[in-house]
């Protein structure tokens, strides 16, 4: 366990001077059990999120980033279970919480924003009532107070004419407004930890820009920490301070966003950055990562990325690399990280 703590990203960074991290995910494995067969979709993932930190998780579809987030929120789909490891919130294992304790936690402590606001909102309830539900339950507000809070929250998230919109149904609102309602709902009980699952993927760039800005401002105001799952590297760059890169259910690299973007230490991270079009460098050639993501049910013995990695050597195919500290506050899971990525090499 002491070993795991040493390797855990940001354990020693302590940017905000908090002794105890808000959220601690340690050696988390999620999977599907069929008889004696286990298919791991998240494998041995550990990270810390400190209070007021903004933590991004990126990866391709199927990398397990959303599942990790759902496990934290206790919203794993039927059939997927925690095989090992634990998720601790303020030092308490979430698995030890009873159902009612868990309900008390979701809202005032942890809240979640989903990707598709149309399916996440209740279509037959006015949005104001949906926002007011949390405060009424958790903060024991009266109907009137909660309604006022809902209007206030909607105004804070930048919804024009909130006094009228509070009576609207989700279908009457545009995608951007719906996503703001989701944010208002999630923040209505002033959570300490906000989980975001691709919150702006379904939105236009201009609206995405507005929503991200509102989200950042509100998190600053309320002092909430953010766990932000996305596949858009540019969005991560602009919202998060720390980053974890996932591939095939494993963490392959983590550290401060700016450092990773400037100087990636894992071939997969490098590949992701090279394949994404960068608006500020239009003439750069886009290099796709060859091959396909591994089949999780039939994971190769060695490094999961080895079949697609242009730097793979023999040892990569036989042993799986573990996350090692490569620089202060940074970790990477690659045998060749030191020889491949020298400090300052571009």
């Amino acid at each position: 366990m002491s070993n795991a703590t040493a390797l855990r990203p940001h354990a020693e960074s302590g940017t905000f001077g908090n002794a105890e991290p808000l959220l601690t995910v340690s050696n988390l494995s999620l999977g599907v059990r069929r008889g004696s067969n286990e298919t791991k979709i998240v494998d041995d993932v550990s990270f810390d999120v400190n209070a007021k930190n903004r933590f991004g998780i990126v990866g391709e579809s199927g990398s397990g980033k959303s599942m990790t987030l759902r496990a934290i929120a206790g919203l794993l789909p039927r059939g997927v279970e925690i095989l090992s490891g634990q998720i601790a919130y303020r030092g308490r294992d979430l698995a030890a919480f009873s159902a009612s304790e868990r309900r008390a936690l979701m809202g005032p402590e942890i809240a979640m924003i989903f990707q598709e606001p149309m399916t996440a909102l209740n279509p037959v309830k006015r949005v104001g009532d949906q926002i007011a539900e949390g405060p009424r339950r958790h903060l024991e507000m009266s109907r009137k107070e909660a309604r006022e809070l809902a209007v206030d929250m909607m105004a804070k998230t930048g919804i024009p004419d909130p006094a009228r919109r509070v009576r609207a149904y989700p279908h009457e609102l545009s995608g951007g407004l719906r996503q703001r309602v989701m944010i208002a709902m999630a923040l209505s009980c002033r959570p300490k930890l906000l989980l975001c699952d691709e919150p702006t993927t379904a939105l236009d760039v201009t609206v995405q820009h507005q929503v991200l800005r509102q989200l950042e401002d509100l998190c600053d105001d309320f002092g909430a920490a953010l766990v932000f799952v996305t596949h858009d590297l540019a969005v991560v760059n602009q919202t998060c301070s720390d980053l974890a890169v996932m591939y095939a259910g494993r963490l392959v690299e983590s550290g401060p966003v700016k450092d990773i973007f400037r100087d990636p230490r894992h071939p997969y991270t490098r590949g992701l950055l090279d394949s994404a079009p960068d608006f500020d460098r239009p003439n750069r050639e886009l290099l796709a990562i060859p091959g396909f993501p591994v089949n999780l049910a039939d994971r190769p013995v060695g490094c999961s990325f080895a079949p697609r990695c242009s730097f793979a050597q023999k040892s990569c195919l036989t042993r799986s690399p573990s996350l090692e500290v490569v620089a202060p506050g940074r970790t990477a899971a690659c045998f060749r990280t030191e020889e491949l990525f020298q400090e300052g090499s571009e």
């Binding site: 391709e60 579809s61 024009p160 545009s174 995608g175 951007g176 407004l177 236009d204 760039v205 201009t206 609206v207 995405q208 820009h209 507005q210 991200l212 800005r213 950042e216 401002d217 596949h231 858009d232 590297l233 540019a234 969005v235 760059n237 602009q238 919202t239 973007f261 590949g271 992701l272 950055l273 394949s275 994404a276 079009p277 960068d278 608006f279 500020d280 460098r281 239009p282 886009l286 290099l287 796709a288 990562i289 396909f292 993501p293």
Partner: protein
């Protein structure tokens, strides 16, 4: 360099009549019949062998324009000219073949019960592209063209990843040997690492087959990387057209500027650094009077509320040819953040 225009659109308008409100039906009083104006006078040329990108927010009419081009939607008014001849309505089998489409979501645009072989050979036989004996060889050629192996022939769409499915969809569009390919957000459903290969494929198709491609996208970084020319749409109108380099180097229309300012940057600082475009696009049922962008425009003047600007040519930079904008202001004053490089912006 002279440009040969393959497809010319002049004054294309698409109006959808909305159902009358219930009380008007009951009282049999026809007071107002609102209509949704999806396209409002689109004039643009598609030049042979170019990739023209069409960008804009959702609801700006990009996809309606694509449907008009492939002929699945008939425009209310306006004319389509293909190779100098007016396009008949309905168009015949041969003309239909010339303009093909690739859709956004390769998971729903391929029939899960039809194998790749029958998907392709159906088209080849219907349009008599090759003699019956050569159908198999042609299928293999098509698959190779889009970077797939012969093994894919007898597989079903479910056996492929998103990127591979999109390749199959492209092979299907290419099977009938079109001149023009309309690609409606073809990479937005794909992972970044796969996106790059599909973009490369479009570029090589343009180079090798001389295809003309209309590429609809909302990701401006992708557009900048791939296209030769860009048309920016706002609420059913084209508000700015220019060569890609010119447009991104010297965006003239305030809307284009704010679009560019809101791109999430790979190397920029916080999102808060850039100027923000307020509000959301108004509904195409209730288009603002005057310039349709004026309610959101950061530099609007009084005249903008009354004058509906038409596309006009503005002097372009040394780089390239025509640059057209639909804005009454000459060289609208830049607003903060729109054209400063992100790393120069103040760090929060």
């Amino acid at each position: 360099m002279t440009h040969v225009s393959v497809l010319q659109l002049s004054g294309i308008t698409k109006r959808y009549e909305m159902p009358a409100p219930v009380w008007e039906k009951v009282t049999k009083q026809r007071v107002s019949v609102p209509s949704l104006i999806a396209l409002d006078g689109i004039d643009i040329d598609l030049r042979r062998g170019e990739i023209l990108a069409l960008v804009g927010e959702s609801g700006s009419g990009k996809s309606t324009l694509a449907k008009v081009l492939v002929g699945s939607v008939t425009p209310t008014t306006g004319e389509l000219t293909y190779n100098g001849e007016p396009m008949p309505v309905p168009r015949g089998k041969d003309l239909t073949r010339r303009i093909q489409m690739v859709f956004q979501d390769p998971y729903s645009s391929l029939n899960p019960r039809i194998s790749v072989r029958s998907l392709l050979s159906e088209l080849l036989l219907l349009h008599r592209i090759v003699p019956r004996q050569q159908v198999r060889a042609e299928c293999v050629r098509l698959l190779n063209l889009v970077g797939l192996d012969e093994d894919a022939l007898d597989a079903y769409p479910s056996q492929f990843s998103g990127g591979q499915r999109q390749r199959i969809a492209i092979a299907r569009a290419l099977a009938v040997r079109p001149d023009i390919l309309i690609a409606d957000e073809p990479v937005s459903a794909l992972d970044v690492s796969v996106q790059a290969t599909i973009l490369d494929l479009f570029d090589s198709l343009r180079e090798e087959l001389g295809l003309t491609i209309l590429f609809i996208a909302h990701n401006l970084a992708v557009v900048q990387h791939l296209s030769q020319r860009v048309a920016v749409m706002y609420l059913g109108r084209i508000v700015e057209v220019a060569d890609t380099d010119e447009l991104f180097a010297r965006p003239q229309h305030p809307y284009t500027r704010s679009l560019i300012a809101s791109i999430p940057r790979m190397s920029g600082d916080s999102v808060n650094a850039a100027e923000l475009l307020e509000g959301e696009p108004p509904s195409p049922i209730d288009v603002p009077a005057g310039c349709r962008f004026h309610p959101r425009c950061p530099v609007a003047v009084d005249a903008c509320r009354s004058t509906d600007p038409a596309l006009r040519t503005v002097p372009a930079g040394a780089l390239s040819g025509a640059h057209e904008i639909a804005c009454i202001l000459d060289d609208p004053p830049p607003f903060v953040g729109a054209d400063t490089a992100p790393h120069e912006k103040e760090n929060r």
